[in-house]
């Protein structure tokens, strides 16, 4: 079954670019780009460059920086907290990226396949978690997950008292609990993306599948899923960045504890820069995390472009 292929989020389809070339004067592009780019260069890029520069210095954030070459980086690679936190970030990728995408695909299948009434209510309601501030989300879940909180009360009520846990304080369950709150928060964005994508799938494909006697699962597997590939890529990149940069939610829920079970790189950066006055070292961590994010995003994009039929230029 051949399906319409798609370019990735990061690409401009070359075929289109070749055929239609409405604007003869490409320098105009720079004019359209200039005002925003100027602001970006001054207020985002310049501070980023400074961060990279400070990663080579011993610097408290308010002292005279002292050049120390790559010393911050050599220290970093021997720092257990760094490895523990980057490991936790990758653990959270499961909950911030993989699970939300799977859950969103499932919900998309339910919401788009059946032409039932009231679907827009579900669509709106299911997106609510994503709209709320992550600090508010953290405060609410901290309460829900408390030892005598509503979730444990509910477990006792339905006779599953044996499952009661001090979720956020438990060495074993805190990472999972924090992760699931992340899943609850992130799936909405994926879902809306997928629904949008599914609505633009050619109805003829479904008709064809039905003629061949496909059941609901086969239809999803062979029609919906392949058509959603570009949206899945976007969702992956956005939620992967979210998992690697997560801060507010962990800060409010557990502060990285118990022990260092939910400690993540952003928390480490924050503590090194602002609690321990080691802004130079914190900058080095940020540089390494950024490189990891870039490498993973570009790899995923590359794999996607190789599998897809269209060329991708980043």
């Amino acid at each position: 079954m051949t399906l319409p292929s798609s370019a990735s989020h990061l690409s401009t389809p070359k075929s289109k670019r070749g055929s239609g070339r409405p604007f003869a004067r490409p320098y105009q592009a720079y004019l359209f780009l200039a005002p925003g780019l100027l602001l970006y260069l001054v207020f985002v890029f310049y501070p980023i460059i400074n961060t990279a520069r400070y990663s080579l210095f011993d610097w408290t954030g308010f002292s005279e920086p002292v050049y120390i070459g790559l010393e911050n980086y050599t220290e970093l690679f021997a720092d257990n907290d760094f490895w523990k936190s980057i490991g936790n970030n990758f653990f959270f990728v499961t909950f911030y990226t993989i699970l939300p995408i799977l859950l969103a695909l499932f919900l998309t299948a339910l919401l788009t396949r059946s032409k039932l009434r009231g679907m827009s209510i579900y669509r709106t309601g299911l997106f609510i978690p994503q709209v709320m501030s992550s600090v508010v989300v953290g405060i609410i879940w901290r309460w829900l997950l408390g030892p005598t909180g509503p979730i444990n009360e509910f477990l006792r009520l339905i006779g599953l008292g044996g499952l009661v846990q001090p979720w956020l304080g438990s060495f074993t369950y805190a990472p999972i609990a924090v992760g699931l709150v992340g899943t609850w928060y992130e799936y909405g964005l994926c879902m809306v993306l997928f629904i949008a994508g599914a609505q633009s799938i050619d109805q003829e494909l479904y008709d064809a599948a039905r003629i061949f006697g496909a059941n609901a699962w086969q239809e999803f597997r062979y029609v919906t899923l392949p058509s959603l590939r570009p949206q899945i890529l976007v969702a992956f990149v956005l939620t992967f960045i979210a998992a690697m940069r997560v801060f507010d939610m962990v800060f409010v829920l557990t502060g990285g504890g118990p022990g260092k079970q939910t400690y993540v790189t952003s928390l480490l950066i924050y503590e090194e820069a602002f609690q321990r006055n080691r802004a130079g070292y914190a900058s080095a961590i940020a540089v390494v995390v950024t490189i990891i994010i870039i490498v993973v995003s570009l790899t995923v994009n590359y794999v996607q472009s190789r599998d897809g039929s269209q060329e991708v230029d980043i």
Binding site: S8, L10, T12, P13, K16, G20, P22, F23, Q28, Y30, F32, L33, P35, G36, L37, L39, Y40, V42, F43, F45, P47, I48, N50, T51, Y54, G61, L107, L111, S114, G125, L126, I128, P129, V131, S133, V135, V136, I139, I140, L144, W184, G188, V192, I195, A196, G197, A216, P230, Q231, I241, F247, D248, S266, I269, A273, A282, A286, T290, I293, D313
Partner: protein, 276 residues
């Protein structure tokens, strides 16, 4: 699955969706109900209705915790950030989506970088820059960086929209003698409504909820709601109903905007999201 009758399948779909819907909105509903309660009533259970619907908690948060002041600051910051960054990223999205120019990919990657760097590390250099420009402790210190960050996201958003735009329309306009500026603002801009509205909701949401930048850059009356909420959540605050009311005050504007734009939002996602 195929063993199920259509009607059973319909019920199963509704049941599954309802379970997920409850999981999605229950925390919000609980917060909503709690905000109207007295501290004593908490033991009645989270979903028990308030004995008396009272607004004391909102009043405490609004006047006592100076949320009225923080609300004003939030509005003063969020409006220019959203307006400016939507305009700027429409233009840059247009440049990336419709033109082919040297350095295009490098510039795109450069802008993408802004979305990937952990922000906590950039804040001190940014703080120094604001000092250098004499803008610290002013609304500009909140607006300019957030416009620049939103521009990074908005450029991607609008770029994918414009690159999937039917070329025939643009070609026709050019033939009719429209210049590039007119093509963008007279033809493409009005047609981009769905993508723009969803961009507005996302940028509004992120700007509205920004905490760290506000904490570091400004003091006093210039602070916005999330910092006000954090102050309320101080070491000594244990008044859950007031916290619930305060959380609602912070979340409500975004929710209202979302409900208003909901339909266009979903449609905008179709357009703004990647298309082949």
């Amino acid at each position: 699955m195929s063993a199920l009758s259509t009607r059973n399948r319909t019920w199963l779909t509704y049941a599954l969706l309802t379970i997920f819907l409850i999981a999605a909105v229950a925390p919000f509903v609980g917060t909503f109900l709690t905000a109207f309660k007295d501290t004593r009533e908490l033991s009645n259970g989270i979903f028990a209705l308030p004995e008396q619907w009272q607004f004391d908690n909102f009043e405490d948060a609004w006047t006592g915790a100076r949320f009225s002041t923080y609300f004003k600051s939030s509005v003063i910051v969020v409006v220019p950030v959203v307006v400016l960054s939507v305009i700027l990223s429409t233009m840059s999205g247009f440049a990336f989506g419709m033109f082919r120019f040297p350095g295009q990919n490098v510039l795109l990657l450069l802008i993408l970088l802004g979305l990937m760097v952990p922000f906590e590390a950039v804040i001190i250099p940014l703080w120094q820059l604001m000092g250098l420009l004499g803008l610290r402790n002013s609304y500009w210190a909140l607006i300019l960086p957030q416009v620049a960050l939103s521009f990074a996201f908005g450029t991607f958003w609008m770029r994918s929209f414009f690159s999937s735009f039917p070329r025939e329309l643009v070609d026709a306009a050019v033939v009719d003698g429209c210049n590039t500026w007119d093509v963008l603002w007279r033809i493409l801009f009005p047609l981009s409504r769905p993508a723009l509205l969803s961009l507005v909701v996302l940028l509004f949401m992120w700007t509205w909820n920004e905490f760290f930048l506000v904490l570091v850059m400004v003091t006093g009356d210039l602070r916005t709601l999330p910092v006000g909420l954090a102050l309320l959540r101080g070491r000594y605050a244990s008044d859950i109903p007031v916290m619930a009311a305060a959380s609602l005050i912070v979340s409500l504007p975004v929710l209202i905007l979302y409900f208003i734009f909901q339909r266009s939002f979903i449609r905008g996602m179709i357009a703004g999201a990647v298309k082949g």
